[in-house]
């Protein structure tokens, strides 16, 4: 039985293929089209999934789309009716898109699926799951738990913005939901917009900026904007928002409440933006914590599964784990809309078809390495065609030459095995660095990634070593938990350093691994497991043997605004356009100084800033 899940037409289109309940392949369309958050129909991702499974569209038993377009249309119509005539501008923008395209999604999906194999229309079984059902299914059915409480939180799907579910074996019941326009995701997005970042991609930046500030506005937010109840339910005072009726997130009342207009994108950040970020982060953490407590109360479960865009807030996740409300928490690595494709497919298998679910203590994500991989011979051919000069080395030498480069504080592009599904690079498509270097964070931000200098980097650490370095002793394979660097690894700041605040904190070395220690001593930890990524695990082992440090800086293999690399050519182009000094793809090793000068390019201008 083959089930193809699809998410598309809003942001982060993706496809996922499930065969007899096992996840065969999953990938985001942006990786193939090289357009960040690409919302178009995932033609390339579907084609890849079919190729990986060795099948054709004719072999697919069910295709499932991750939300219900007509219910979304209902939400739009009822919102415009409720706010008439104020919403006319938004109405005028949205309705043509719907009347022209989105209302005809069923036909459009059949046509696009047919086009993949050159036929007019695909005529098989086409199903639709609800948006939050897809998220909840991606969180629970892919988790290692036999039963669990399930929380999904995002911007909005059809109506639902937050749901509480109960998963047992192959059953998943949604027990409570909070509906549009009351949304934690939209609250966070409103502050993302107000602090001058791009909605739907800058939320990570707000989270990264928060530790530089103090939550001085948190009470103001709780007193005026969000009415947060003890059970985690909430209502947003719509007077402060503009997303129901206009084309921005916040309203003049919001600007008045915080004494100023939104920051203009790319203008200098001030302490005010840092304090705003810290404040909305604290409020979000409080809401998530209350929701989780209530979910525990309602379901009586000892395990929790999370999905939806808000579940990518790893700081909130880390705090939730520390509160020990649950014995264990599992977060879907593709918690955003891309993961909806996978959730929809799993929902069909378990809920629609009623098929059994066998758990064995491990999750079903295969380390989230669910994307394309390239054979060594193909890597060599593709790199040669791109004009690269490379050495082909043995497996052992791949590790030793990479460790040499890392120990010399070089930035290394590392492309191995299958591409990750979800927004995080997990050692399949990563840029690696030495975390002990006090200059690594700045170098990587400004010369390699071309992004804002305040942004933190995450560490990869062997699962065996995690508790020797971080205040964490659980699996965090998907980089979705934040934990503090152990006190014994920290440096004590001197008096002058103690008095610094805001962005100046960035220049103070804070621990033995300064490149991955954020200003509040936190780190977004990825535990590396021998079973799911043996080569990366070997690299960390060798780096530890050389330096006594089992930690590496791991950042996604891309520049700001670019999707993570997919193919060897993508990796080579990024290598040639940045100050990455070594590139290791499969068993091919490239040094920057060996490459033809004419292949160097001005790369950072190629992508629109995110």
């Amino acid at each position: 039985m083959l089930i193809l899940g699809i998410s598309a037409f809003y942001h982060d289109s993706a496809a996922a293929l499930v065969r007899d309940g096992q996840i065969v392949a999953a990938a985001q369309e942006e990786r193939f089209t090289r357009k960040k958050h690409d919302p178009s129909f995932p033609t390339n991702a579907v084609a890849y999934c079919l190729e990986e499974a060795g099948c054709r569209m004719a072999d697919i038993d069910h295709v499932v789309f991750y939300d219900k377009p007509i219910l979304k249309f209902e939400r739009l119509l009822e919102t415009y009716l409720a706010t008439v005539p104020r919403g006319f501008r938004s109405f005028r923008t949205a309705i043509p898109v719907w009347v022209k395209e989105k209302l005809f999604q069923k036909g459009m999906l059949r046509k696009k699926l047919g086009q993949i194999e050159g036929v007019k229309s695909w005529e098989g079984s086409l199903l639709f799951t609800e948006h939050h059902q897809s998220h909840a299914a991606s969180a629970f059915f892919a988790s290692p738990f036999k039963s669990a409480a399930v929380l999904t939180m995002d911007g909005v799907g059809e109506w639902c913005t937050t749901s509480l579910g109960h998963g047992r074996e192959n059953k998943l019941d949604i027990l409570r939901e909070i509906r549009f326009p009351h949304s934690l995701g939209l609250l966070y997005s409103a502050f993302t917009y107000y602090t001058g970042f791009k909605v739907n991609s800058g939320e990570y930046k707000v989270m990264g900026l928060a530790p530089y500030g103090k939550p001085v506005y948190a009470q103001k937010i709780l007193d005026n904007i969000i009415d947060l109840k003890d059970d985690g339910s909430f209502r947003l005072d719509q007077k402060y928002f503009n997303y129901c009726t206009g084309l921005t997130m916040t309203s003049p009342a919001f600007h008045e409440l915080f004494d100023g207009e939104p920051r203009k994108p790319e203008t200098p950040l001030t302490q005010r933006e840092m304090d705003l970020a810290a404040s909305v982060q604290v409020v979000t953490e409080e809401a998530v914590s209350r929701l989780a407590r209530y979910a525990r109360e309602v379901t009586g479960e000892r395990h929790l599964c999370l999905a939806g865009g808000v579940a990518l807030n790893c700081v909130a996740n880390g705090k939730l784990l520390k509160e020990s409300i649950y014995d264990d928490i599992w977060i879907q690595p593709a918690a955003g809309d891309a993961g909806g494709a996978l959730g929809a497919a799993l929902a069909v298998w378990h809920q629609y078809l009623g098929e059994e679910r066998q758990t064995n203590g491990k999750d079903f994500m295969e380390g989230s390495y669910l994307g394309p991989a390239f054979e060594q011979s193909e890597v060599e051919k593709r790199l040669s065609d791109a004009g690269a000069i490379f050495d082909v080395v043995s497996d052992d030498d791949v590790i030793s030459t990479t460790v040499d480069a890392l120990a010399e504080e070089k930035a290394v592009g590392w492309m191995q095995g299958r591409m990750e599904f979800g927004p995080r690079a997990l050692g399949g498509r990563s840029i690696l660095g030495d975390p002990r270097s006090p200059t690594m964070q700045k170098t990587l931000n400004l010369k390699v990634k071309y992004r804002e200098s305040f942004r933190p980097f995450a560490p990869s650490v062997r699962r065996e070593d995690v508790s020797d370095w971080f205040d964490l002793d659980t699996d965090s394979p998907y980089m979705l938990l934040v934990a503090e660097v152990l006190e014994s690894r920290r440096y004590t700041p001197n008096q002058d350093e103690k008095e610094l605040f805001g962005i100046d904190l960035l220049n103070v070395p804070r621990s033995e691994v300064p490149a991955i220690t954020h200003v509040d001593y936190s780190a977004r930890v990825q535990t590396v497991h021998k079973e799911t990524n043996p080569r990366y695990w070997d690299l960390l082992t060798a780096f530890k043997a050389r330096t006594d440090c089992p930690v590496l800086v791991n950042t996604s293999f891309n520049v700001r605004g670019e999707p993570i690399v997919c193919t060897p050519e993508d990796a080579f182009h990024c290598f040639m356009g940045t100050e990455i000094e070594r590139l290791v793809v499969g068993n091919c090793v490239m040094r920057k100084e060996d490459q033809p000068a004419h292949l160097k390019k001005d790369y950072k201008e190629e992508f629109e800033l995110d």
Binding site: P39, I70, L77, T93, K102, G155, V156, L186, Y243, L247
Partner: protein
């Protein structure tokens, strides 16, 4: 025609027949709007629609 049938099924299931006149009006005016302009893009807002 498939869309009309789906909308009818939707209104029957959700008991939302009061949306019918709005949908008819939208069908008429929406077609006019489509004929007079291309797809609009809203850059500063979450993808609500």
């Amino acid at each position: 025609m498939e869309l009309v049938r789906e909308l009818w099924d939707y209104m029957s299931t959700r008991k939302k027949f009061w949306l019918l006149p709005i949908l008819i009006m939208l069908g008429i005016f929406g077609t006019l709007i489509v004929l007079t302009q291309g797809t609009a893009v809203a850059p500063f807002i979450y993808t609500l629609f």
